[in-house]
């Protein structure tokens, strides 16, 4: 888990396939991106999904990925990106 990430930090998404409800789609797992926004601590949806209180809160970040990083056969412009919200425990600084 990465703590205290800031916009501009390069991160990699955890490549993991846990049971239960998670908000990190398969297509970004293991991929490299850049933090673009910090939304602050939020209830953890993986804990809320169990009917519990969502604590401890996890910081939610907006992360930018190059489309060419996500899709090996992407043939659009290299400047095309995707923004997606990811919780801190799915991210590590690189």
């Amino acid at each position: 888990m990465a703590q205290g990430l800031e916009p501009g930090d390069r991160v990699r998404v955890r490549e993991d396939f846990p049971q239960g409800h998670v908000r990190t789609p398969v297509y970004v797992r293991g991929k490299e991106g850049v933090i673009t926004r910090d939304f602050g601590p939020q209830p953890n949806p993986e804990v809320l999904a169990l009917g519990r209180d969502g604590l401890p809160k996890k910081t939610l970040y907006e992360v930018r990925f190059k489309q060419s990083e996500l899709w090996p056969d992407y043939n659009g412009p290299e400047t095309d990106t995707l923004l997606i919200d990811i919780y801190e425990h799915w991210l590590s600084r690189i």
Binding site: H21, P25, V26, Y27, P45, L48, A49, W71
Partner: protein, 103 residues
């Protein structure tokens, strides 16, 4: 292992972009969903977990609100609000009232 709901990047056919009116029963399920949340009996992420727990076949066969219905029914059984017997009996009663074969 990819969940049935996690479709990003998979090949897909054409998307039906025509607007659809909600049917009366879909509105009823939506209302029930809100009511159960107000009573503290379900959370949005919990609904998602239950929908994602449907079998792959069920997930891909049921409509959006049918998934909600299956999810809510299972949650109410797990939480002891209803029993599966009560749900089955109610379904049989409704089928009988509508003149359909049970089962």
């Amino acid at each position: 292992m990819r969940g049935s709901h996690d479709l990003g990047g998979l090949p897909a056919g054409p998307i039906d972009l025509e607007p659809h009116d909600m049917t009366f029963w879909e509105k009823q399920i939506d209302a029930m969903n809100t009511l159960l949340a107000q009573k503290g009996l379900r959370k949005t992420d919990e609904n998602r977990r239950y929908v994602e727990m449907l079998s792959h076949d069920a997930y891909n066969t049921l409509s959006y609100y049918e998934r909600w219905t299956a999810s809510l029914a299972r949650q109410m059984v797990d939480k002891g609000v209803l029993t599966q017997d009560e749900i089955d009996a109610k379904i049989a009663e409704i089928r009988s009232r509508l003149g359909q074969d049970a089962g």
